[in-house]
Symmetry: none
Subunit: 152 residues, 2 copies
DNA sequence: TCCTATTAATAATT
DNA sequence: AATTATTAATAGGA
């Protein structure tokens, strides 16, 4: 995937500057797609992005806060549970303060997010498999590092 | 804009069924773009969409709730104020409250289910991590093979 | 759903 | 930033 003069691997770019360039171009594209989706289908859409530099960008059709409010009001929050198309990863992890138990929870929570996002069970196309491959490689690297940290 | 056999106008489709078709295709595309943006730039991304039928779809990299929390916590909320690309309308809503420790305990239970599905246990000691590492490597190799088989 | 003609998004380069 | 070669997304139809 990718679109441009060359096919690129979808993986974290090494240099901060490259990440910022990719972010700028693709954030713009993402918001445009979101706006189109709203205009065509009348769906309500809320997007929140933090740039690599930590700057927030918000996009809402018709309004970010209202849509998020509606979601957290819970009236319909469980309706998506049975839809296998849904990419739904809501997993709270504690950031910080750090007693050991909490740290472990955080590590495990992050790992879980990675695994859940892979969702390669039903993938039958090259793109999904490639994404899963990338994710797996990163999870593996994380594990290797954790093991090393434990004194392996 | 649009991409397909014909250029289309970006305006609300008249028939509900047409809106649903466009929504299904484009929601998938939007989430894919979001995942790519995250993978490439390490940006944090949260998307919430209500379909024309009112069904919610959530996408979060790395986690929807955490990103939204971070935004509403306000630590960085004002950083975007000077960016003219930002569509920014804030109205805080309260939700959740549950204490973090309890939330994490629930998370651990869910995690173990996930890890079992992945064919390895989710312990946090070195031996189990090593086993997990081996399992992940095998899964990864499987995926790489699958990708090769698809002719990538 | 799947297919494919066509357009839109974007990676590399300037 | 602006341009352009190329790929990816998708509109319409099977």
């Amino acid at each position: 995937m990718g679109t441009g003069k060359k096919k690129i691997e979808i993986k974290r770019k090494e240099k901060q500057q490259d990440r910022m360039v990719a972010f700028s171009k693709r954030r713009k594209g993402l918001f445009k797609k979101a706006h189109q989706l709203h205009a065509l289908s009348a769906a309500h859409i809320a997007i929140l992005v933090f740039s690599p530099a930590g700057k927030p960008y918000v996009c809402g059709d018709p309004c970010f806060d209202d849509i998020v409010d509606k979601y957290y009001s819970g009236a319909t929050a469980n309706a998506a549970a049975d839809d296998n198309d849904v990419v739904n990863c809501n997993n709270r992890s504690t950031y910080g303060d750090g007693n050991d138990a909490d740290e472990d929870c955080k590590e495990i929570g992050e790992l879980k997010l990675w695994l859940k996002r892979m969702d390669f069970d039903g993938s039958d196309n090259v793109d999904d498999l490639l994404l899963a491959k990338n994710d797996l490689e990163q999870v593996r690297d994380k594990l290797i590092k954790n093991v090393a940290d434990y004194g392996e």
